[in-house]
């Protein structure tokens, strides 16, 4: 629930309706905000770190296997000899440092590459080793061009995106070093030790989104290209794959007596691949889509002997896993409290993300008894890029506040009993992390309540006020708050993470 995207998804039906209305009224602004939110919302780097461990391990294994016969695959007289590749690769751009390595240097260079890949895998100097790993992966792939298959493609794709995000921020030697440094510093200064807090990162989100979209592209084309083949329509395709002795690792010829199994698996594979790019974004269906993908790739690995390819695709699926679940799953493992760390509270990161000028809009909880007025106000704020949730009930507003974590709460107090208003106000302001509260009172109500509503976190507005004025007031308050929080957080946690 702490995710902005999730926040926007849990608005009420009424709010959802108005979201569509906003699309119709101002599609470009809404699209721009959606684009920014999709790409630039900061996220927990734990998923990226987990992908680094799995994909980095696969990278290491892949390259160790190359080393079983370097002269055959990378030598000047090997299978992929340069004169043959110059014809095969024609005029393409094929960057590889292997073109400049003579035969006697094959093993030293290979060992150096393995060492770098190992460092990347364990997350040491990850910003550097990730880029070097990408260069290594691309170089090996182009040099051993004729021996490549899907594994090498996905290796390179994941490696590229792991370079973009802070893949070594967690579950890594880098993280361990930062913890040790913080501990030493605390000891030196004689202050209690506090583990470095993990920041949500925009680049982590960017990398995860790129992996997700790339996998959508992969499955879409993989599925659509299969539709050109008759066997994928007739149901024979899976049989043909199993009947290929060179791929086989478990005999599946018994399927010949049960053709319906081949039909079912063929049609399911096609349906799954073609629909993946759409269904994976529907949250309730995501676990099912991923489970089916897991089954398919585990089947490719177990029955067709392509464990490496099956696994690397499953590793890519991790990008669709929520960070919270990954944290919970990893939390019980040894050393995890150190290597996972504590995630920085959402609000601070969210506001500091706003300070990066990436137009991550604030979220408002709007409480108003009058439906028509509430809808008009919500529309106004939606059109200006705010995330809004509305409620007509003060009790419901309390629950919404807890679950949606808004940046500010606006209460149109007219229509409620004075007692209800003051109770809501006191309850709100008694919370230690209370959001700024904007109470809009009628003149008579203000006169009655004068003196009963006055806390630093609440803003009482009396009489007539325009929406523009209210919006500026909210914006100024949030800007002011974000600066303070940023400063306080930086002072409290001098060892920062990538944000």
């Amino acid at each position: 629930m702490k995710n902005r995207f999730g926040w926007a998804n849990r608005i009420s039906d009424k709010a959802r309706l108005y979201r569509w209305v906003s699309w119709l009224l101002n599609p470009f602004r809404v699209a721009a905000n959606a684009w920014n939110e999709f790409w630039y919302s900061p996220s927990d780097p734990v998923v990226l770190a987990l992908i680094r461990i799995f994909a980095g391990g696969m990278l290491l294994y892949t390259h160790v296997i190359w080393g079983l016969n370097l002269p055959a695959f990378f030598g000047s007289s090997g299978w992929n000899s340069p004169d043959v590749l110059s014809v095969v690769q024609e005029d393409g751009i094929v960057p590889s440092f292997w073109w400049y390595v003579s035969d006697q240097w094959l093993m030293p260079v290979h060992c150096l590459c393995i060492a770098i890949l190992f460092l990347f895998w364990i997350g040491f100097a990850t910003r550097v080793t990730s880029v070097l790993s990408m260069i290594i992966t691309i170089s090996y792939s182009y040099r051993a061009h004729m021996s490549n298959f899907g594994l090498d493609q996905i290796n390179a794709i994941l490696c590229l995106y792991l370079c973009i995000g802070p893949s070594g921020a967690l579950l890594s030697v880098d993280r361990w070093i930062s913890v040790v440094r913080a501990r030493r510093k605390a000891r030196r200064e004689g202050v209690p030790y506090a583990a470095p807090v993990v920041s949500r990162s925009i680049t982590a989100n960017l990398a995860i989104r790129l992996i997700q979209l790339h996998f959508c592209v992969i499955y879409a084309y993989s599925g659509l290209s299969k539709l050109q083949g008759g066997a994928w329509w007739s149901g024979e395709a899976v049989w043909l794959a199993f009947a290929n002795l060179e791929y086989q690792s478990i005999s599946m010829t018994w399927i010949a007596w049960y053709p319906w199994i081949s039909d079912l698996m063929t049609h399911t594979t096609i349906l799954w691949e073609v629909s993946f790019a759409a269904l994976i974004w529907i949250r309730p269906l995501r676990p099912l889509v991923l489970a089916m993908g897991f089954s398919m790739h585990a089947g490719i690995g177990g029955m067709m002997g392509m464990w490496t390819f099956g696994l690397i695709m499953i590793f890519g699926h991790l990008s669709f896993w929520p960070a919270g679940i990954v944290r919970r799953l990893l939390g019980g493992l040894p050393l995890m409290p150190t290597l996972l760390g504590t995630l920085q509270p959402l609000k601070q990161t969210r506001l500091s993300a706003r300070n990066t000028d990436l137009k991550v809009a604030p979220a408002l909880l709007w409480v108003d008894r009058t439906v028509r007025r509430q809808l008009l106000c919500l529309r106004y704020f939606w059109q200006r890029g705010y995330h809004c949730a509305g409620s007509r009930d003060l009790q419901e507003a309390r629950e919404l506040r807890e679950t949606t974590l808004p940046d500010a709460v606006v209460v149109m107090a007219t229509g409620w009993e004075d007692e209800e208003v003051t109770t809501f106000h006191d309850d709100h302001c008694s919370r230690p992390d209370a959001e700024p509260l904007f109470m809009i009172l009628s003149t008579s109500q203000s006169a009655r309540l004068n003196g009963r509503i006055h806390t630093p976190g609440s803003h009482v507005i009396t009489g007539q006020v325009s929406l523009g004025s209210l919006r500026r007031e909210i914006q100024e308050t949030l800007d002011h708050t974000s600066d303070d929080q940023e400063f306080e957080w930086a002072a409290e946690h001098p060892i920062g993470e990538d944000s």
Binding site: I157, L210, Y221, Q228, L245, E246, D357, Y386, V465
Partner: protein, 209 residues
């Protein structure tokens, strides 16, 4: 602290009985002034995202049959795709799983010893290493004839080097897939008639160097 909005900011009445109206000069949600460099950086990232997404979507679309438009777009983004090893079709087992290709070879040494082999074979382990050899034979078997003549020379040279051979004979072997009916009737996946060998040539060591 009680915050109030100055009177000069109040225009359209909002609360009580009068409904809300939007401010005509309202701007976006985040109004903090951005520096020139930040704006430029943000624009650059967005531009790169657009190019990157266009590139990765276009690359598989150019695998034949493809449109002239997709090929034109691909031409523009090809250096980017190739530079990052992203130029892939993702046509796995498409349009449909077909017969596999193997390479059969015979090496004759200086002392007259004759060695025979075929790859891939299940003696090649681990499985990934086996798969590397399988991809070599698939590449050769699926290449057009004019390219096969070039590739097979490279293969012959490597076999000469590995086994210290004087002459090498190479052929490609197509392994067809049996139908369900055939298997039900007692057929095996490795029945001899499913293999079709096509000689690609015989090469002498001195011709290969």
């Amino acid at each position: 602290m009680i915050s109030t909005i100055p009177a000069n900011r109040r225009r359209v009445p909002l609360n009580s009985e009068i409904e809300a109206q939007a401010s005509p000069n309202a701007c976006g949600a985040v109004e903090r002034p951005r520096s020139k460099w930040r704006r430029a950086g943000f624009a650059l990232v967005n531009t790169w995202l657009f190019i990157h997404l266009t590139a990765i979507i276009t690359a598989p679309a150019t695998v034949g049959p493809s449109s002239q438009s997709s090929r034109t777009v691909w031409t523009a983004v090809a250096p980017y795709l190739q530079g990052l090893y992203l130029n892939h079709g993702f046509h796995y087992f498409a349009p449909q799983p077909g017969s596999s290709n193997l390479v059969s070879w015979t090496v004759t040494r200086k002392d007259g010893t004759v060695l025979n082999g075929r790859f891939p074979n299940f003696d090649i382990r681990p499985r990934l290493y086996y798969h590397r050899h399988f991809m070599l034979s698939e590449f050769l078997g699926n290449s057009p004839p004019e390219l096969q003549t070039v590739i097979v020379k490279g293969f012959a040279r490597n076999l000469c080097r590995e086994y210290d051979g004087e002459t090498v004979t190479i052929s490609t072997v197509r392994h067809d897939l049996p139908s369900m009916e055939r298997v039900r009737a007692g057929g095996k996946l490795d029945d001899g008639d499913l293999y079709e060998e096509q000689p690609l040539g015989s090469f002498k060591r001195e011709d290969l160097l």
